[in-house]
């Protein structure tokens, strides 16, 4: 203890470690943040930034894909949908004559129908087969919004003008 002549304690006061504590906490937050971001990215984007392969791409690299699970995108060919007890079977097309037969288990989404793009999750039955065993169907919606009846506008009372 350092004492002046009149008995006052002149020992230097140690300032509270505010800056140090703040830095420690900030580093902790940044570490948690980095872990959270990596966890989100690891759900798919770290492996492939593209959510799906198109029919054309999948057929082009079919031998390397084998029976690996993938997401496949194509347009549902009209007249090919056959609803079964366990799900549905249908054909999806790419460009030209490229097509894949899909055998889906489980009920298709509400908006599933011919001529729309879908993404199917599953795998090819074999390395050479065009049959795709599907466990999930997702409907891919376009960015277009068109009024069902452009010339008719509903009034607030429900009447159609």
């Amino acid at each position: 203890m350092v004492e002046a002549k009149d008995g006052v304690d002149l020992t230097p006061v140690v300032p509270p470690a505010v800056a140090q504590r703040s830095r420690r906490r900030s580093i902790g937050v940044l570490v948690v943040l980095a872990l959270a971001v990596v966890a989100l990215l690891s759900q798919g984007l770290l492996k492939n930034l593209n959510y799906f392969e198109t029919v054309d791409q999948a057929l082009a690299q079919k031998s390397s894909l084998g029976t690996k699970e993938l997401r496949l995108e194509g347009v549902v060919k009209p007249g090919t949908i056959d609803r079964t007890n366990t799900g549905a079977s249908f054909v999806i097309t790419g460009s030209g004559t490229n097509h894949v037969m899909v055998n889906a288990v489980g009920s298709p989404p509400q908006l599933f129908q011919p001529n729309i793009p879908v993404v199917v999750v599953g795998h090819f039955a074999s390395k050479t087969s065009l049959l795709f065993e599907c466990t999930q169907i997702m409907v891919k919606h376009s960015a277009n919004y068109i009024a069902a009846h452009p010339n008719r506008v509903k009034a607030p009372n429900g009447s159609v003008r």
Binding site: V18, A19, R21, S22, R25, S26, G28, V29, L30, V32, L33, A36, V37, L40, L41, Q43, G44, L45, L49, N50, Y51, F52, T54, E73, P108, P109, Q110, L111, F112, Q113, I116, V119, Q136, I137, M138, V139, K140, H141, S142, A143, N144, Y145, I146, A147, A148, H149, P150, R152, V153, K154, A155, P156
Partner: protein, 241 residues
């Protein structure tokens, strides 16, 4: 003039939101969306506007205010307050964007969530926004807190163009841009588009209203804190005398 504008902000916002609801639910016809699902299209009057505010208006406010704080000429605690308050609003709007998107996704896509580039990068922005708020809490020194927050706020803005262009750069389940398209062509039918634009204005005003309220609260808090400190100091001085 400024006072009148501020006073009218709340009522005008509420009126426009009500107008959006009436237009969206009763006046506009259903969308042709995939035959029979037309009413899901009405989420068009909520989800894009929420995303617009979250990503561009609100987050943009934080980025600009952070930049102005870091620039010596314009550095002030006002800029720091605006940046932090806007980030709180951003967090709310990101959450609402993700929730409404999920509600849209279930009946339309068939799933609540997809780990595609658009959805994942938006979720990451939500986490980064929460991180901004956590970082502020972690720091006790106001000047240090303001500087670090400003740097962090600008750094994480890198994610905004990634989110915006994710649907162009990569293949995603999320559709491509409807309003802010690369070609400038809006792919929404006339009467639907009008309601969509009204919703954009309504939610932008809602952001301004919320930001103003949050900012005023922050100023009141700072004033109360300063008053408390001054009175505590005065009391100690009286005790020592």
């Amino acid at each position: 003039m400024m006072k009148i504008t501020q006073r009218l902000l709340g009522p005008v916002t509420l009126a426009l939101l009500a107008f959006t609801v009436v237009m969206g639910l009763w006046i506009t016809p259903p969308d042709t969306l995939l035959d029979g699902g037309g009413n899901y299209g009405r989420l068009l009057y909520v989800h894009p506007a929420l995303a617009w505010v979250a990503l561009y208006v609100s987050f943009g406010t934080t980025t600009i205010a952070s930049g102005l704080y870091l620039w010596r000429r314009t550095r002030s605690m006002t800029m720091d307050r605006i940046a932090s308050c806007a980030m709180e609003v951003t967090t709310l709007f990101i959450a609402l964007t993700l929730i409404t998107g999920s509600i849209w996704g279930r009946p339309t896509w068939g799933v609540w969530w997809a780990w595609d580039a658009r959805l994942t990068s938006t979720a990451i922005l939500g986490v980064l926004a929460l991180g901004y708020l956590a970082l502020r809490r972690a720091n006790d020194d106001p000047a240090d807190r303001a500087r670090r927050s400003a740097v962090y706020g600008i750094l994480i803005a890198v994610n905004i163009p990634i989110i915006h262009f994710s649907v162009v750069w990569w293949k995603t389940l999320h559709q491509q841009a409807t309003v802010l398209t690369a070609t400038g062509q809006v792919s929404v039918h006339g009467s639907l588009l009008l309601t969509l634009l009204v919703s954009f204005v309504a939610f932008t005003l809602l952001f301004a209203w919320l930001l103003r309220a949050r900012y005023r609260l922050e100023v009141s808090r700072d004033t109360a804190r300063a008053t408390q400190q001054a009175s505590a100091l005065a009391q100690r001085q009286r005790e020592g005398a």
